[in-house]
């Protein structure tokens, strides 16, 4: 089973974790806020842990050593960037995906070897497509 660690249990993080777990991924999701974790649906089949995604000890507890993928989805760009770089450079996780709202900042980190997703660009495109499909 492919092990995935997700940092940040907001709407996107929680839903992604639930979907991946339902598809038989071994999912661990981390958040610093217990309230966020409590939003996971009761049927969530993965592991939810209280912890900071930029803290190596928390990541070890989440079983990052041996994970094949790491996804940073907290609400803060810089927090995601730091967590992703820890996963990539310290724990050598093969796939690291990082949400960065600021598209210019996203480009820089793409050049530095992170896989980045900019919701700003994605949303603008999808609104524009919707409007123009009319």
């Amino acid at each position: 089973m492919m092990k995935v660690v997700i940092v940040g249990c907001g709407r996107v993080g929680a839903q992604l974790a639930t979907m991946l777990a339902a598809e038989n991924y071994d999912v661990t999701i981390l958040d610093i806020n217990p309230h966020s974790l409590s939003k996971l649906v009761p049927t969530f089949q993965g592991t939810a842990l209280l912890g900071d995604g930029t803290d190596e000890d928390s990541l070890r507890k989440a079983g990052i050593e041996g994970a094949e993928a790491f996804i940073a989805l907290t609400g803060e760009d810089n927090h995601n960037i730091m967590a992703a770089q820890i996963a990539k450079h310290i724990f050598k996780i093969p796939r690291v995906i990082c949400r960065i709202y600021d598209s210019q900042r996203g480009e820089i980190y793409q050049d530095l070897g992170l896989e980045t997703v900019s919701p700003t660009i994605t949303f603008v495109q999808s609104f524009k497509d919707k409007l123009q499909q009319g």
Binding site: T54, E76, N78, M82, Q85, H89, D102, R105
Partner: protein
């Protein structure tokens, strides 16, 4: 020099003032309007209101002609990102980041932040200098050259007591540059046949990897006699 400082706490205000006194050009970037107006009152219009991690803000700041870029926001992740953007987007030759959590220091180094400064380390070194927790105190370390200056105190039970300096196995590139003995004049660059006594304080300059070097020096000077 043109120095950009991101973050406008008391630390960056004092730093800016010192740099301005030395006639350097200084710009402080902060997104907090109240903090920025405190700078204006104290130091004049040497600020830019904005997020020091954003490309547009750094472009307006003229980051591409900065000689030094310093991030002291109080948040490790913001300091890291600001320095990385400055380095990789604007080719700033020297980036310096304040690190609050010492555990992050090796990550910053790995990600090519040129210098990291941890207040924790500085405070600890100061306290250690006052309290003999450890016989060896690091006075200075120059990472680029791997040269270190340390202060050592010879414990009374050490094997090195009553030995001449040339009888001891010092690390290959090192020299005892100062010996302070209570009640006597300090000896600058003592000769190699100088005999050590208990409670002597030595200042040693040496080259090597930090941890190896310190262990090596402790073995030589402070290990108790068998």
């Amino acid at each position: 020099m043109y120095v950009i400082i991101v973050g406008s706490g008391r630390l960056s205000r004092s730093l800016a003032k010192a740099l301005l006194d030395e006639e350097h050009e200084v710009l402080i970037i902060d997104k907090d309007e109240a903090k920025v107006s405190a700078i204006e009152e104290e130091l004049g219009s040497i600020y830019l209101l904005g997020d020091g991690c954003e490309v547009d803000v750094l472009e307006e700041a003229g980051t591409d002609r900065a000689d030094v870029f310093i991030a002291v926001t109080g948040h490790d992740e913001d300091n890291l990102v600001a320095c990385q953007v400055a380095k990789h987007k604007f080719n700033v030759p020297r980036t310096i980041a304040q690190v609050t959590d010492t555990k992050n220091e090796h990550l910053f180094k790995m990600l090519e932040v040129d210098v990291t400064v941890t207040s924790f380390d500085i405070i600890l070194e100061h306290i250690k200098r006052e309290i003999p927790i450890h016989p060896l105190t690091r006075l200075a370390f120059f990472p680029d050259t791997e040269v270190e200056v340390v202060e050592l105190k010879i414990p009374s039970d050490a094997a090195s007591v009553n030995k001449r300096i040339d009888e001891l196995s010092l690390p290959s590139e090192s020299c005892v540059s100062l010996i302070v003995r209570s009640g006597e004049d300090a000896k600058i660059m003592p000769s190699s046949d100088f005999t050590l006594q208990a409670e002597d304080k030595l200042v040693i300059i040496a080259r090597g990897t930090q941890s190896d070097l310190e262990k090596n020096l402790c073995d030589t000077f402070t290990t108790p006699e068998k």
